[in-house]
Amino acid sequence: MKEGKRMVEPAERFTALYRQHRVDIERYVLRRAPEVDVADVVAEVFTVAWRRFDEFDSEHPLPWLYGVARRMLANELRRRSRVRHLSERVKTSSTESVEDHSPAIAQRIVFQQALNGLRELEREAVLLVAWERLELREAALVAGCGTSAFAMRLHRARRRLRVALSEEESPGRSEDADSAVKPSSVTAQLCESRGALRK
């Protein structure tokens, strides 16, 4: 029998996976729940990944890990108090006066508001591609859907996000009023950002 990937001990493969992608998972957690104990959550993600290493997708290691992280983070946040955390942090940001900040911070607040106005699956689609920098096929694996379905979701999300951002920057102007996120719905949908984290 030839020496090959199958001959490598699972512990060795897992060690390589851990060393290569630990920081990627740290960033994944930080982007979604900066107020949790990131080191603890990352350790838990890899603990679950090790227990489930029989299911490891060696062709798509990072998407597989993100899938584990997604579920792990959901569990972690479910255990925590049902209030505060990301949603509240975002709400606090949402109520800040944009004029009080530098243009960069103001843009970030506007972006966060617009992002929070997306439906949870759409928001996750944007983050997986824009922040985790996954390709469509990889992101679709994490999201648990086909590539075409994911691309449609992302397309829709990007359009909504763009409209919401243009509305914030130019109040009263909308290129797509039907799909725009109304300001009042931003608060109403904040709970979905918690929901997104639970998935």
Binding site: L30, F46, T47, S81, R158
Partner: protein, 352 residues
């Protein structure tokens, strides 16, 4: 389609909050963490029967493979010297007692028993409509809870919480720790050496401008609609245990009337592999009926339990139990790892 990822990154990439992020975890720490993870039973290992000897050999091999630092090896040795599956050890984390069920006085399947409770609940009057604060009173405990940034394994220290949610979504929460429960005097001494975490009588009050409700609208009374409604933030793909999680979240958000409770019980009754375990007294001493559902979703075989009041259909409490495998949690199995006791859910005129 091929341009779509780049267009999305152009739009949102610059707002990535981790741009320029540098991990603060040094190499020796990450190696120690890796070592501990590998010490946990991994893929295809029979966790329930693995002997300490086998564990020792397996870990030694992994340590050789990964070439970890001496400090990390020491960490592993400490770990494997801990209690094995089913063993009693002074170092086992303190956990609450399992709920003790009696002989079923409502014999039948879970669906049949719940069916009788549903019928009774549906016949109850709704009571006068009230407006005001949604008020919830509950006791909680979880193995993973940290008190003053430290995990307490020598005592069970439940937390009492009172929550008021105003119609506009603002709210107030008051919480304090309850009296620690020790398994032995040695455990109490260990807790004292740890600085007696949770012993202060301070009450923390949290005032939130807007609570993050999963379900801002009232729960539907149609079971099918309610089942779908519960999937918000609780994906079906996670299996029936996710519905149990949704139920425990819901009863902390909404004051349910009899029709809503009946619909909720109907949704629960349809969960596959739901088991009726018999009558029980909850952790507040109230009589109820215990139902459970097993799932591996969390990564360890876990039993999710719900206590239902057979008189009015209220959810009285929930437990999570590890029935067979402690994983790396350092508990003696079977072990309760999480519980919530729902003491009160009503509408009040003030948030105090």
């Amino acid at each position: 389609m091929s341009r779509l990822p780049n267009q999305t990154r152009e739009l949102a990439g610059r707002f990535d909050p981790t741009l320029g992020y540098q991990s603060r975890t040094d190499e020796s720490t990450t190696d120690a963490i890796l070592c501990r993870i590998l010490a946990d039973a991994g893929p295809s290992q029979d966790k329930a029967t693995a002997s300490a000897t086998v564990t020792q050999r397996r870990i030694s091999r992994r340590v050789a493979i990964t070439g970890l630092a001496a400090v990390a090896v020491a960490g592993v040795v400490v770990y494997i010297d801990g209690p094995g599956p089913g063993e009693q050890s002074a170092s086992a984390a303190a956990t609450p007692p399992l709920l003790a069920t009696g002989a079923p006085d409502m014999p039948g399947s879970a669906a049949a028993v719940l069916g009788a409770i549903i019928d009774r609940t549906r016949s109850l009057p709704a009571g006068p409509a009230k407006s005001g604060y949604r008020h919830f009173s509950l006791d909680t405990w979880a193995l993973t809870t940290r008190i003053n940034n430290q995990q307490v394994t020598s005592a069970v220290i439940p937390e009492h919480r009172e929550v008021w949610i105003a119609p506009d979504g603002s709210g107030r929460e008051v919480r304090h720790y309850l009296t620690p429960i020790f398994a032995s005097s040695a455990a109490k001494q260990a807790w004292q050496r740890q600085g007696m975490p949770g012993s202060d009588t301070r009450t923390d009050t949290v005032t939130s401008p807007s609570f993050s409700l999963i379900w801002p609208q009232a729960a539907p009374t149609d079971p099918a609609a309610l089942a779908k409604w519960l999937t918000r933030g609780h994906p079906v793909a996670n299996g029936p245990a996710e519905t149990i999680a949704a139920v425990t979240d819901l009863v902390k958000e909404q004051v349910l009337d009899p029709q809503q409770r009946a619909a909720l019980l109907r949704v629960i009754s349809k969960l596959p592999s739901l088991t009726y375990r018999g009558p029980v007294n909850d952790r507040a001493g109230r009589p109820g009926e215990l139902f459970s559902l097993d799932s591996n979703y969390s990564g360890l075989p876990t039993r999710y339990e719900l206590i239902v009041d057979k008189v009015d259909g209220r959810i009285l409490g929930s437990d999570e139990v590890l029935p067979t495998t402690p994983g790396k949690l350092g508990v003696k199995i079977p072990a309760v790892i999480d519980y919530e006791t729902y003491l009160q859910a009503d509408i009040t005129s003030s948030n105090h």
